[in-house]
């Protein structure tokens, strides 16, 4: 038996025209948490697919417990004890937890050939309990939170006797507290001798969990370090290939007069009694646990699901916002959380995407003014620095970060004064993140009032002038820049949830 449960040597994977992986090495010990890091497009996903047998490598060797293996399909890898838990949980939302756990390896009675439900429910229950969760295995999967679904996925991996578990961005959709629960489970698995490959964009995940870290960049293997022997700056250089001097740019915004004020805003079942104000040039961070009502509040301000009670004052005048058109008319822009589903039309060219919300003003009596449209698109795409050659390229040809820039450019077409950013850096890599921060800071300096929803604590603290913390549909605390600490935010975001927020 070798020291390594999994070892990959010189893995190269070529797709027609591109080298997705170029001579990558990797090794994994039993009872180890090994972080795999790199920017979007660095080749992490392809690498994982090689390990799980989805892709077979063009060249290179895979050793499992010292023996060379080749996987022809994912089923073989699964059989050998390799399981992967993906970022976007893939499951059957209409089926029960038990069915999800045993999908593909149901317990079937020896003679009767019937599914042994009793046995399966009992096994599911004990698996979940071993992970510290008191979920009822008969619950419908779709009714669970993302964090709970992930626990079910982990239980599923264990039920197939996985010895190697790959977690692909498991914390991306989790709040701080939920992540903490996941860390505990992960550590417990490690102590039980399971080897874990952990992929994440969040540095805190890595520092908290991993023993070693392997970095990929531009499809190439950059190196493997013990986590306690590499500095943060070195790691960033390894990932990005250059130094990022300052993730959060210097702020130069001047606060002006009040532009937006809401008073006791409420929406039945979602949020209640919300009051705050926003000045020109101010960045107001809104944070809290997922499900605290942050997005719902902002979508109500943008007229997507109108609020039921309360008043909105825009530039001192009382206004009613019932539809997105109302909001746009007033001068409120909203950057949705899911840019691919809610903001961009991916197959459309960049210029048409940018102009979509402003077509009324980019037209004459209903006729499209195509020349004006192209000019505006060019100007705005340059302003936010979209990395593209031409505004006629489809949005789908851009990377995540650049798509996000197009989504921002789209907001600036209309005569906006207040911009609402909903998780603006979700799923973008660190290079693009710092570019988006720069845009936000520049917009604030240009006098836009900015509301930024974010679950990432450093981001909220690093950018906001004031921070409103939400919990269970209410603002529990508004912190000033000067007294905003992680602890204070955490405390406020859980002030009501202390007793009933156990994950699972």
């Amino acid at each position: 038996m070798s020291e390594y449960v999994l070892k990959l040597e010189g893995i190269t994977k070529e797709f027609p025209g591109v080298k997705a992986l170029d001579n990558v090495h990797f090794d994994l010990k039993a009872g180890e948490i090994h972080a795999l890091m790199g920017e979007n497009g660095a080749g992490k996903s392809t690498f994982i697919k090689v390990i799980t047998g989805v892709h077979s490598p063009t060249s290179g060797e895979i050793y499992l417990n010292g023996e060379q293996v080749e996987f022809d399909n994912p089923k073989e890898a699964q059989y050998m004890g390799i399981a992967a838990i993906y970022q976007h949980v893939t499951n059957y939302p209409d089926l029960s937890v038990t069915e999800n756990i045993f999908m593909g390896h149901e317990k079937i009675g020896k003679w009767t050939r019937r599914i042994n439900w009793k046995q399966m429910h009992a096994d599911a229950k004990s698996l979940l309990e071993s992970l510290g969760s008191d979920l009822d295995p008969k619950t419908e999967m779709g009714s669970l939170s993302v964090a709970q679904q992930q626990i079910v996925e982990i239980a599923k991996a264990l039920s197939s006797n996985a010895k190697i578990i790959i977690m692909d961005e498991p914390t991306a959709a989790l709040t701080h507290r939920e992540s903490e629960e996941l860390y505990k489970i992960t550590e417990q698995l490690r102590d039980d001798g399971v080897a874990i490959i952990f992929i994440s964009h969040r540095f805190e995940d890595m520092y908290r969990l991993a023993d070693r870290v392997t970095v990929l960049r531009d499809s190439q293997y950059i190196g493997c370090w013990d986590v306690d022997k590499i500095t943060h700056d070195q790691l960033i250089v390894a990932m990005v290939g250059r130094e990022i001097k300052q993730l959060f740019p210097e702020k130069q915004n001047q606060l002006g007069e009040e532009v937006l004020r809401v008073e006791s805003l409420g929406q039945i079942g979602r949020f209640k009694d919300i009051s705050f104000s926003l000045k020109r040039g101010e960045i107001l961070g809104i944070t809290g646990l997922v499900g605290a009502g942050r997005s719902e509040l902002c979508q109500a301000l943008f007229g997507i699901e109108p609020y039921d009670e309360g008043t909105v004052y825009f530039e001192g005048k009382k206004q009613v916002i019932k539809t997105p058109e109302d909001a746009i008319q007033l001068g409120i822009g909203y950057l949705p959380e899911d840019r691919q589903a809610q903001s961009l039309i991916l197959q459309w060219e960049i210029s048409h995407n940018i102009s979509l919300s402003a077509l009324t003003s980019i037209s004459k009596k209903g006729w499209l003014a195509e020349k004006k449209e192209r000019e505006i698109a060019k100007e705005l795409a340059e302003k936010v620095d979209v990395k593209t050659k031409s505004i006629f390229d489809p949005a789908s040809s851009l990377s995540g970060g650049n798509q996000q820039k197009v989504a921002v450019a789209k907001l600036l077409t209309t005569n906006v004064k207040v911009l609402i950013f909903d998780e603006p850096t979700k799923g973008v890599d660190i290079g693009a993140k710092s570019a988006i921060y720069q845009i936000i800071v520049d917009l604030a300096a240009a006098g836009y009032g900015i509301i930024m929803i974010s679950s990432e604590m450093p981001e909220v603290i690093g950018l906001s002038d004031r921070i409103a913390v939400m919990c269970e549909g209410r603002v529990t605390r508004v912190l000033d820049k000067s007294n905003a600490t992680q602890e204070a935010i955490l405390e406020a975001s859980m002030s009501k949830k202390v007793n009933n927020s156990k994950v699972g």
Partner: protein
């Protein structure tokens, strides 16, 4: 914030210009004319060809809104029944003593109401699919038409009413003049206006459209109402040409119209295709039918040919993205079919 310059002028490219589905349809029309006129000496006879044009153009008015409906990922299969109902209402009101002009007005109103009702149901109950909603109203509208006329026919319209179906302006059929005028309007509406752009946006990503301030419901309502209105115009031409009407007229018109739109390159997945393509497809199918009729090819054969043509076009237009090669292959297939 940056110094990067991004190109906002697009050079004219012949390749891109000719790589459009519409050229395929133009080629098809030419082929149909060449083959038919070499087989039958009567094909190019002006009177018979304009007569044929009058026959297939009546339903073609519904193609305009149907293109927009299908671009928005919806469908309307109730248009045939709407034609029947508005025609029956017009005839019975006239027979009941209403002046013909008012009866025509009622016909248009009934059509528009039918379309509006479809749109209303779809917008109000978003979880319903357009197939089911318009299937229900298809049955409903036809049912009302039967209730009004009970398998009778109605007619004996004033002589001037036959102008719609049989009239000429100079030497061009009136229906063709009106169709061309409306076709130009429809092309401009879909391709050059804010309204048209928004129709494409809705079909490409309805959620993003809503988040971008596009009034999705209002646009759907307008387009469905337009479909009903166009069905009523079809009813006027059809009734005028036949001289009388029955509750079972315009049977299967919805399928003919959908076939024309699909052949025109509008993808059922939404967001793709052009108005011009569907308009050309009207003439492809129309002259194909006319030519095959002249050389006495039985009607069943005609169905087979149109079916094959449609399969070829649908596969090609949905694969089109993959490039030139696909295009060339398809050309061969379609040639064979015609």
């Amino acid at each position: 914030m940056s110094t990067r310059t991004i190109n906002n002028t697009q050079e004219f490219s012949w390749k891109r210009f000719f790589l459009q589905w519409e050229w395929m349809l133009v080629a098809l029309i030419i082929i149909i004319f060449l083959i038919n006129s070499s087989i039958s000496p009567y094909f190019l006879n002006y009177l018979s060809i304009s007569d044929a044009t009058m026959t297939f153009l009546d339903k073609a008015f519904i193609v305009f809104p149907m293109v927009m409906i299908m671009i928005m990922r919806e469908i309307d299969i109730s248009v045939g029944s709407t034609v029947a109902l508005s025609s029956v209402v017009m005839a019975s009101l006239y027979n009941a003593g209403l002046p013909m002009v008012l009866a025509i007005g009622a016909c248009l109103l009934v059509g528009a109401l039918c379309g509006f009702f479809n749109g209303f149901l779809l917008v109000k109950y978003r979880q319903l699919s357009a197939v089911i909603v318009t299937l229900s109203t298809m049955i409903l509208y036809r049912g009302i038409a039967y209730m009004i006329l009970e398998d009778q026919s109605a007619g004996e319209f004033p002589t001037w009413f036959s102008f719609f179906g049989w009239g000429y302006i100079g030497s061009v059929p009136f229906i063709l003049v009106l169709f061309v005028v409306m076709a130009i309007g429809a092309v401009l509406l879909l391709q050059k206006t804010v309204f048209g752009r928004r129709v494409y946006a809705i079909g490409s990503n309805p959620t993003a459209s809503r988040f971008s301030g596009v009034k999705v419901d209002k646009i759907k309502l307008i387009v469905f109402t337009l479909a009903g209105l166009m069905a009523a115009i079809t009813a006027i031409f059809l009734t005028s040409r036949m001289g009388s009407t029955r509750p079972n007229v315009a049977n299967m018109y919805e399928l003919d119209v959908i076939a024309m739109v699909a052949l025109g390159g509008i993808s059922t997945a939404g967001g793709k295709g052009k108005m011009l393509g569907a308009i050309l497809a009207v003439f492809v199918i129309g002259y194909l039918q006319y030519g095959l009729g002249l050389i006495n090819i039985p009607a069943q054969m005609l169905l087979i040919i149109i079916g094959v043509l449609l399969i070829a076009s649908v596969t090609v237009t949905n694969l089109r993205v993959k490039g030139k090669l696909q295009k060339k292959k398809s050309k061969k297939k379609v040639k064979k079919a015609s």
